[in-house]
């Protein structure tokens, strides 16, 4: 069957009884309702006034008014990642759209389903440099999975249907619909019983794995003596069932398992097969297991440079199986021996079924030997630290936060930098969709608006933004939003008065020349909380820490907890840029011995 652009179905010859004419803006909201949209994060402006007018009369869709369009996208991301639903953003033309660009790029890099509706100047003014005009589809072409400019009312409904389909199917991502104001004002045809199949026909990514590939994968798995499972964000995006199946697979095989930053929570952190996160700030045991394995089973991870380190030294002696929903992820960074294309849940189902059929048994002797080697690596206790004296170690703060919330279902977001890596290392996740962090793009300022979105989706849950003071200040205008909706987000600021990761790199790589990385003129975070009608707390020494955490968790509304931590603590273990997995810095004593190579210095 030929696929065609989202067509106006038979809207033109609309004698059909199911077609009703209504203003574009109203139609848009109806189409959103049809997609199950309950919440929209947005900010009004001239070009979207018709939509806001329609929203005024609508009682099914809740609008959350953010304070900056970037935050609207991050909030939608937080909403999407904690629920598995598609997040929706509504912003105006020109600056509204350009402000959303960082969020869209973030969603693209981390494969988050988001639909962003942008206003546009009326069609007859497009191209005239009209007030608040920007070439939004041009600007966002590279930072969306797909985008649309709706130039005919008849295309409005099919476009919305296709946009939601594209955002959530295959490898998810952000989709933008640019809506000229005249399209929103004019009457457009709405079909009640629209044929969805037709509107979604042209985008049908494969999700069922090829049985031959599954069989080949099991062949390889049967032969494995030193295996590792390397899981990523694809497991989370596939839905909670993938995480359950992963746990089953791990227990069937007894294989060691590591997860990427995006995959945390896919296997409970308490599982003894879990080696911790891998990569640049991954654990010693995870990275050495990856380096020394003879079979790598990659499930929904993409061999990101933060994971692989030096490509030529990446797991040099292993057979690699790459399971991914996106064929373009295969053989992009690392050449693999077998690709299995499909949805993680379906791949895991098929793998487990095939293994059962073939009565899969792991190689007991070699696996035991492999595990005893891994236990030796584990004994290095690479995440150990010494909390002595009154100065709070950042690792200790996060570890205590994790321990003190262990009994409740907690959602954690982070900003970007040292605190993010410490959160990944010291906070334990037992379920998927509980950990929202900006992985691919590394967007400082992500955590607060993302937490806002998570809290909107889960009003009763404990939502914590583990933040750094510098990142926090990048989107702290959202305190006003938290206050307006009384969203009880707990902001746990690891305050070391530095852009910590920048400072760390300057120390390790740039001779300790701390160029522009000091957070001067910081606000008093308690007073800041006060001005936004929320609670502010501060912990200056280790004996104050637990009281502050307890108070923070017990206070009903939003809380800013300013945790003053050791200022010059570095994040270890660390694989310096340009080094391989077996070339890690484990702590300060390693730094002097291993200067970073020149090739490494040019890498980010």
């Amino acid at each position: 069957m030929p696929k065609s652009a989202p067509a106006a179905e038979d809207a033109g010859n609309s004698a059909s009884t199911t077609t009703t004419m209504m203003p574009g803006a109203e139609l848009l909201l109806k189409a959103l309702e049809d997609e199950g949209v309950e919440v929209v994060f947005g900010y009004p402006g001239g070009a979207v006034l018709p939509i806001y007018d329609a929203l005024f009369k609508n009682n099914k869709i809740k609008h959350i008014l953010v304070r900056h369009e970037q935050a609207a996208v991050h909030a939608a991301e937080g909403y999407a990642r904690s629920t598995g639903k598609t997040g929706v953003v509504l912003v105006t033309s020109g600056p509204g759209a350009t402000n959303a660009v960082t969020g869209l790029t973030d969603a693209l890099m981390d494969s988050v389903p988001v639909v962003c509706l942008t206003g546009q100047v009326p069609t007859h003014l497009i191209g005239n440099d009209a007030f608040q005009e920007a070439d939004t589809t041009g600007i966002t072409r590279a930072c969306t999975k797909h985008n649309y400019l709706v130039k005919e009312g008849a295309k409005l409904q099919p476009t919305v249907i296709e946009a939601f389909h594209v955002a959530a199917s295959g490898r998810p991502g952000p989709v933008l619909i640019d809506l000229p104001k005249d399209i929103l004002m004019k009457e457009a045809p709405y079909q009640k019983d629209v044929i969805r199949a037709a509107a979604t026909a042209r985008y049908r990514p494969a999700t069922e794995p090829d049985p031959a590939a599954i069989s080949a994968a099991v062949d390889m798995m049967i032969r494995a003596e030193r295996p590792v499972i390397y899981g990523g964000g694809g497991l989370i995006n596939s839905g909670p069932r993938a995480s359950k199946l992963l746990t089953d697979l791990v227990h069937m095989t007894g294989w060691p398992t590591t997860l990427t930053l995006m995959g945390l929570g896919a296997l409970p952190a308490s599982d003894r097969h879990f080696l911790g996160m891998l990569g640049m700030h991954g654990t010693y045991e995870a990275n050495l297991t990856m380096h020394g394995c003879d079979l790598m089973l990659n499930l929904g991870a993409r061999f990101d440079d933060r994971v692989t380190g030096l490509i030529s030294g990446f797991s040099p002696n292993s057979t690699k199986i790459h399971c991914d929903i996106d064929p373009s992820s295969v053989n992009k960074n690392v050449a693999v021996d077998l690709a299995v294309i499909g949805d993680a849940t379906k791949i895991l189902e098929a793998l487990i079924a095939e293994m059962k059929k073939r009565k899969f048994k792991p190689h007991k002797t070699s696996l035991d030997k492999w595990w005893s080697q891994i236990e030796m690596w584990r004994k290095r206790d690479c995440l150990s630290f010494n909390q002595t004296g009154s100065i709070i170690k950042p690792q200790h703060a996060i570890k205590r936060l994790c321990e003190m919330t262990a009994d409740s279902d907690v959602y954690v977001t982070t900003e970007v930098g040292q605190h993010q890596m410490w959160a990944a290392q010291y906070f334990d996740f037992h379920l998927p969709n509980r950990w929202m962090t900006s992985g691919g793009l590394g967007t400082m300022g992500y955590g607060l608006p993302a937490a806002l979105g998570v809290q909107v989706a889960h009003p009763g849950a404990t939502v914590i933004d583990i933040a750094g003071e510098a990142s926090f200040m990048m989107n702290m205008q959202e305190l006003s939003t938290l206050s307006q909706y009384n969203l009880p987000v707990k902001m746990f600021i690891i305050n070391n008065e530095w852009m910590g990761m920048v400072r760390q790199w300057q120390e390790l790589i740039h001779g300790g020349r701390y160029s522009e990385s000091y957070s001067a003129s910081l606000p008093d975070f308690r007073k800041l909380a006060d001005t936004f009608n929320m609670t502010g707390l501060v912990a200056r020494s280790s004996d104050e820490l637990e009281d502050v955490i307890t108070q923070m968790l017990d206070t009903p509304g939003p809380v800013i907890a300013d945790i003053r931590v050791a200022k010059e603590e570095n994040c270890f273990p660390m694989i310096p840029s340009g080094a391989a997995h077996n070339d890690m810095l484990l702590g300060p004593e390693d730094q002097a011995e291993k200067p970073v190579s020149e090739e490494g210095m040019v890498l980010v």
Binding site: K3, G138, L149, R171, R202, Y203, R204, P327, V330, K332
Partner: protein, 174 residues
């Protein structure tokens, strides 16, 4: 995996929805990811289904070529991608319009060479010709180079258009 260091030239055909921005998506993909475009031609080939066919000549290592195909295939308005260089020899043709301005012996020589290359004369004045030459890129290159040695030359080339040999259909709409 194949040898990953050899740079190969590939011709790809891409069937796309003829909608605004589709060419920008393809070109943006190439520039954004640092792939080469040696030539690119596009035109509507099926007005009824509003489909266009893009022919792209690109070069890269086998890993990059594989990436290009996978990256193209995941764009929403793209129906199908076919690497015409992968399995069989594709028929590739390019058309060039070559204007030459010259006199006397060189003018006669230009006409003789044009004849050898089966170029057609589309326009003539007392001191110029416009030739139309069709062939694969190396034939067009050879013709243009010869003309350059015989006078002032201006060239307009279409870029490569290609289709596979045999009785199989390269690209079908989904």
């Amino acid at each position: 995996m194949k040898d990953t260091s050899v740079i190969e030239r590939h011709i790809m055909s891409v069937l796309v929805d003829n909608e605004p921005g589709v060419l920008a998506r393809v070109i943006g993909l190439f520039s954004g990811r640092g792939y080469n475009i040696e030539s690119l031609t596009v035109s509507e080939t099926d007005p009824k289904l509003a489909l266009s066919r893009i022919s792209i000549v690109t070069s890269g290592t086998p890993m990059v070529i594989e990436q290009i195909k996978a990256q193209l295939a995941r764009l929403v308005p793209i129906h199908a991608v076919r690497d015409l260089t992968e399995h069989d020899v594709a028929i590739e043709r390019e058309l060039a319009l070559v204007k030459i301005i010259n006199h006397g012996e060189e003018r006669i020589e230009a006409l003789r060479i044009a004849d050898t290359f089966r170029a057609r004369t589309l326009d003539s004045t007392l001191d110029s010709f416009v030739f139309e030459v069709t062939g694969n890129s190396s034939k067009v290159d050879a013709f243009v180079n010869l003309m350059r040695s015989l006078g002032s030359v201006e060239v307009a080339r279409t870029g490569v258009s290609a289709i596979s040999r045999g009785n199989n259909i390269d690209l079908e709409a989904k």
